[in-house]
Symmetry: C2
Subunit: 342 residues, 2 copies
DNA sequence: TTGAAAGCGCTAACAA
DNA sequence: TTGTTAGCGCTTTCAA
């Protein structure tokens, strides 16, 4: 697949000749090196504008041994999460002169390190963004470190100080939610946990318990249930809600690990004559499309995924290679009809 | 951002030396050129495995004047569509030895051609995938052709024969849907159109009318309304449904351009005491998450977006530069509760 | 502030 | 079947 009839693109040398300077000077102008006389710079810039010259990324990469590429993964499962992540990452890359390379990650065949070595490695990415659950794939981290490829992890669970890591301030959002529910008069709470390989699953449950205690309740007011997986999140939410309400019938509010689980809880309520939010308040997490489309619309906590991706790319490009910091991004409680918000 | 402490990666020359052959021979092995003696090939492959050698993409691009990069855009608006597209494209790229570069596309500042020239151009992508609405940006197409960059368009509206174009067979899905509704006894239909800059908006409406006529009805049995935009799709669906049912109170089934509009219709039905599907059947399009999470779950037409992206990449890599064909991908009617499916 | 020369790691074109 | 040579279009390093 060669694009035969491409008009040969202008090169540095072409621009140099037309501007009557050396190629190196053009390079200095393009890279905004300060030591170029203003008049020279203007002349070169004029020729660049005229010719539409753009650096050849491959040549630059080769010479500078920097690829100006940031890599990331999309999971092989439909999710708004990854589309937001890509959006934020692409936006930040563009602002910093980088490009975003996306690779598909196969959840069922989780030898991510192998996948990396056989494909992404040849791009010599300058950095990688690792969303969950890849951020906790230790073999992948080892492989990246071996190649000297830096990485930033999004919401990692394991060994959070091993690298720069970006977190949403989940606990804060959950505690806002607890306060909201408490003010609406709720005293007994149900929690449907998420997958155990997501750090945030335990974090969110614990944050709810802590918040309820801080408001004057006790840990025994919160009944947590792990997911009874049933194929999809909504189906799982449905099934787990049934169990939860059987185990603790006095629960008046259910908080779920994500919005999709909450949709299942809503479905359960509908089918069993529980009015939402009168008989049962329901709250999710993520502020995905699902939450605003739900009936009634779902109270949820909005994760700033786009921002998190932007921060990740910035850290990749600007931090020193051995930086190991925690970047915490604020979340936002979105109150909707399912908890009696207006 | 240089990864200073990267162990210097093995090069072709390193492998050549260790295997006792010329660099060119190693190149032939890596590129699966047939004219290498089996014994030589094995020896070289062994050294490659041993050293973990991987071609340097930048060097290869420069020498071969091919980037092995495919470019695409994510819109700056959350949508499963783009995440599925990226997924399919990444999968196909990987299979063919290419990499996927993603750029954010700003809907509000739609000078896509300019955007391309200032950023993606430096990657010298071998090909581009253009989803709607970019596929109909004539200035962008001109710019790509000027640079000799080939492109494949997904569901273009304008000038469909200008390039290879991939389509979902919308009309077929709509006609299956019409038959299903007809069999359920519906005779008067409402249609909520999509944005007028999407070709499929008119296609789907017309397909419904044609299908109804084919079933023995007439064009006047279908009342179409353009969207009364209200900030989001669900809100728009709500508002448009209200208008539609006022204009044509005898409608018993509403078909919308996408699932999100249908969610608004469902909300309208709930708030106005219309039982779904008893009083009003509702059907959407796309089979997005929204449709299975809706209450009741939504009958919809499933677009094979992942497949479409795969086909697009394959066409990019394998077709001749001047190919101009139409690739039609089959859709699938998904019958759920909102039309009385079981 | 500017330029000249060398070379990044690969492939194309040719020769053996 | 294999090897040699000469670049691809930049940046680096060093010199002017």
């Amino acid at each position: 697949m060669k694009n035969e009839d491409a008009r040969r693109a202008a090169t540095l040398a072409d621009v140099a000749e037309r501007a009557g300077v050396s190629a190196k000077t053009v390079s200095r102008v393009v890279n905004e090196h300060p030591s170029v006389r203003d008049t020279t710079r203007e002349r070169v810039k004029a020729v660049i504008a005229e010719t539409g010259f753009q650096l050849n990324l491959a040549a630059r990469s080769l010479a500078a041994s920097q690829s100006y590429l940031i890599g990331t993964f999309v999971a092989d499962t439909a999710s708004l999460y990854y589309s937001e992540l890509a959006r934020g990452a692409a936006r930040a890359c563009r602002a910093l002169g980088y490009h975003l390379v996306t690779e598909e990650f196969d959840q069922r065949n989780p030898v991510a390190a192998d996948h990396y070595e056989r494909t992404l490695r040849q791009t010599r990415c300058d950095g990688m963004i690792l969303p969950p659950p890849l951020c906790d794939d230790l073999a992948l981290l080892d492989a990246l470190e071996r190649d000297g490829v830096r990485y930033v992890r999004i919401s990692p669970m394991l060994d959070p100080d091993r690298s720069v890591a970006v977190f949403a301030h989940d606990a804060d959002g959950v505690s806002q939610l607890a306060r909201h529910l408490w003010e609406k008069g709720h005293r007994r709470f149900g929690v449907i946990n998420g997958p155990s390989n997501f750090a945030s699953s335990a974090t969110r449950r614990d944050a709810l318990i802590a918040a309820v205690c801080a408001l004057g309740g006790s840990a025994s007011d919160v009944t947590a249930s792990k997911m009874l997986w049933d194929g999809t999140f909504p189906a799982t939410g449905y099934r787990t809600a049934a169990q939860l309400l059987k185990d603790a019938p006095d629960i008046s509010a259910i908080f779920t690990f994500n919005d999709e689980l909450a949709l299942g809880v809503l479905g359960y309520a509908h089918e069993n004559g529980l009015r939402v939010p009168k008989d049962l308040a329901v709250a999710g997490f993520d502020d995905s499309d699902a939450s605003s489309f739900a009936w009634p619309s779902l109270t949820t906590v909005s994760q700033p995924i786009v921002d998190m991706a932007v921060r990740a790319v910035q850290a990749l490009v600007r931090d020193s290679p051995h930086a190991r910091r925690r970047i915490e991004c604020p979340v936002r409680l979105v109150i909707r009809a399912s908890t009696g918000g207006e």
